[in-house]
């Protein structure tokens, strides 16, 4: 079974596309570069200058101490599923038509973790350790969510 996505392009042509009604991120001055890049199909994360470690979510101060700085870098978009679950019931009313919904923590090859959805994937086939690659889903003109699908 294929995960349903919410791009208006995916709606049945005969019906008026429903306006996107799920919670949307509200970018802050600190996180804005991430969302701007996502709109361009790029996955931007931060890296610690001191440790070289990848950091997600974007923040204004380093979790590695006051003598550290974070710099933006473009991630490859490749990673593996660290853990996942398949929601068989709606997680909230706006997801009424979404189950089975795959929610996962993806470990990017740069090392950081992020929570996302796995799309274009049989929910019964999704596995920890599965290689995945980023896909960029424009849910509104302003917001593109970074989801993942099984790598080819």
């Amino acid at each position: 079974m294929t995960e349903q996505t919410h791009e208006s392009a995916g709606a049945a042509p005969a019906s008026t596309p429903m306006p996107y009604n799920k919670p949307l991120p509200e970018p802050t001055p600190v996180t804005r570069p991430f969302w701007d890049a996502a709109r361009e199909g790029r996955l931007l994360i931060q890296r610690s200058k001191k440790t070289g470690k990848a950091v997600f979510y974007p923040r204004s101060v380093s979790p590695f101490g006051p003598d550290d700085e974070l710099e933006w870098c473009e991630a490859s978009g490749r990673g593996t599923i660290y853990t996942c679950t398949v929601a068989r019931r709606p997680v909230a009313p706006q997801w009424a038509n979404d189950p089975p919904l795959i929610i996962a923590i993806v470990e990017l090859e740069e090392g950081c973790h992020l929570t996302t959805n796995i799309v274009d994937c049989d929910p019964d086939a999704v596995r920890i350790g599965m290689p995945v690659t980023a896909v960029f889903e424009a849910v509104t003109p302003e917001v593109t969510l970074v989801k993942f699908r099984p790598a080819d």
């Binding site: 996180t31 853990t83 709606p90 929570t115 849910v139």
Partner: protein, 397 residues
């Protein structure tokens, strides 16, 4: 300074959990359950000189003073605790801290949750309402998690369970056994939500999967209720000449809000919290007579048993197989039924692990009393294994 034996729980108030409330205000419930606890302790309300509450929507700020005013007391210590499911255990620890420091002598701790069947607009409450319409949360969580349907607690614990299965292995039957033993306990507690409704391992495994791998009967049911404690100085507790549950040890650890950024999904902050509590109390794991462990899901209990040190990491499944977890078994666990079978009334659900442990060491647990119960281990867990508070309670200081 150690908290060992400095303070004791001497009064308990608790409402029988219900599916819904009609017209009750949270503030009213907190005050009622608080007065119940003070009466239970045999004290006058004027003897209460400290107040700890949780935050609640009706009093988005200045919650402690709202409760103080309504109760009509003069508080030398007024505090808000916001540790999710660990709030109740955190309140008991903070009450003991305030008393040990000499700030006050008798602290009332109140938790409570109302739950209307219909929203103010008259809409029938759906089982999956919640985060959806809220616009107040502006955090990394709301920005980077909620848009993916990472909403509520189910998905996070399901991801923990799957990671645990991947790293160590546990069978669905082993997890189900936890829920079954707690239901047995609830069937000996007339105040439990699921009193009179025994279940089997097959029932658990045949209940619908909500989020892989968690079945409906492995997930707490939200309900309404309230719970309160009166904590007083050991000196006053001894003078009162009634059963008391002395706070012998406490420990805390908080590491993350969202499970995405947890240092580990399988090695939890419970270890640090429990190690601290046991060291402070100076007791061993095998000395514990009853374990009152936060149980929002079966996997929570399994991880807690391991990380609190009752068995080795990865051996939780075998531990469940090898032990009888009923109140009359060899490892009495959540005799009140746990939240899985007693009910989860918001943070009052977490508090129920403290009230139950206190009742057990006081010898007041009636039809579910654990025999020769002198020492209890309590663990409160907030968020998605985010906030951990462990307590050791004992009959003697």
């Amino acid at each position: 300074m150690s908290l060992r034996g400095k303070a004791a729980i001497v009064g308990i108030g608790e409402f029988k959990p219900s599916r819904y409330t009609e017209g009750a205000t949270t503030l009213g419930m907190l005050v009622e359950v608080g007065r119940q606890a003070v009466a239970d302790a045999g004290l006058e309300i004027g003897e209460v000189d400290g107040l700890i509450t949780e935050n609640f929507a009706e009093a988005p700020f200045m919650a402690p003073s709202s409760v103080v005013e309504y109760l009509g007391i003069r508080a030398k210590f007024a505090e808000l605790v916001d540790l999710g499911g660990a709030t109740g255990a955190g309140m008991a620890a903070r009450a003991a801290m305030a008393i040990a420091s000499g700030l006050c002598e008798t602290v009332l701790c109140v938790t409570g949750t109302r739950r209307e069947a219909r929203s103010p607009s008259g809409q029938r409450r759906s089982a999956s309402s919640g985060y959806a319409g809220r616009r107040v949360d502006r955090t990394p969580y709301s920005e980077f998690e909620a848009p993916f349907g990472a909403i509520g607690a189910n998905y996070g614990y399901a991801m923990i369970a799957n990671r645990y299965r991947h790293e160590y292995g546990v069978t669905p039957e082993q997890l189900a056994k936890i829920a079954v033993a707690q239901r047995y306990n609830a069937c000996h507690n007339p105040d439990a939500m699921f009193f009179g409704q025994p279940i089997t391992v097959e029932d658990v495994l045949n209940s619908p999967v909500i989020v892989d791998p968690l079945h409906m009967l492995e997930i707490v049911m939200p309900c309404a209720g309230a719970a309160a404690l009166v904590v007083t100085s050991a000196k006053k507790a001894r003078r009162m000449k009634r059963p008391a549950a002395y706070v012998l040890g406490a420990g805390e650890q908080t590491t993350h809000r969202s499970i995405t950024y947890a240092p580990s999904l399988t090695h939890t902050a419970i270890k640090a919290a429990a190690d601290k509590a046991f060291a402070m109390a100076g007791v061993r794991r095998k000395d514990i007579d009853v374990a009152s462990i936060y149980d929002c899901y079966t996997i929570t209990v399994l991880l807690s048993i391991e990380d609190a040190g009752f068995c080795k990491k990865g051996q939780g499944g075998r531990f469940v197989d090898d032990h009888n977890l009923q109140f009359d078994g060899d490892f009495p666990l959540n005799p009140h039924g746990g939240q899985l079978s007693f009910g989860q009334a918001g943070t009052a659900g977490g508090m129920s692990h403290v009230t139950e442990a206190a009742r057990q060491v006081m010898g007041r647990a009636q039809g579910r009393q654990v025999k020769k119960c002198r020492l209890a281990f309590v663990n409160g867990n907030g968020g998605t294994m985010s906030e951990q508070v462990s307590l050791i309670l004992g009959r003697e200081p």
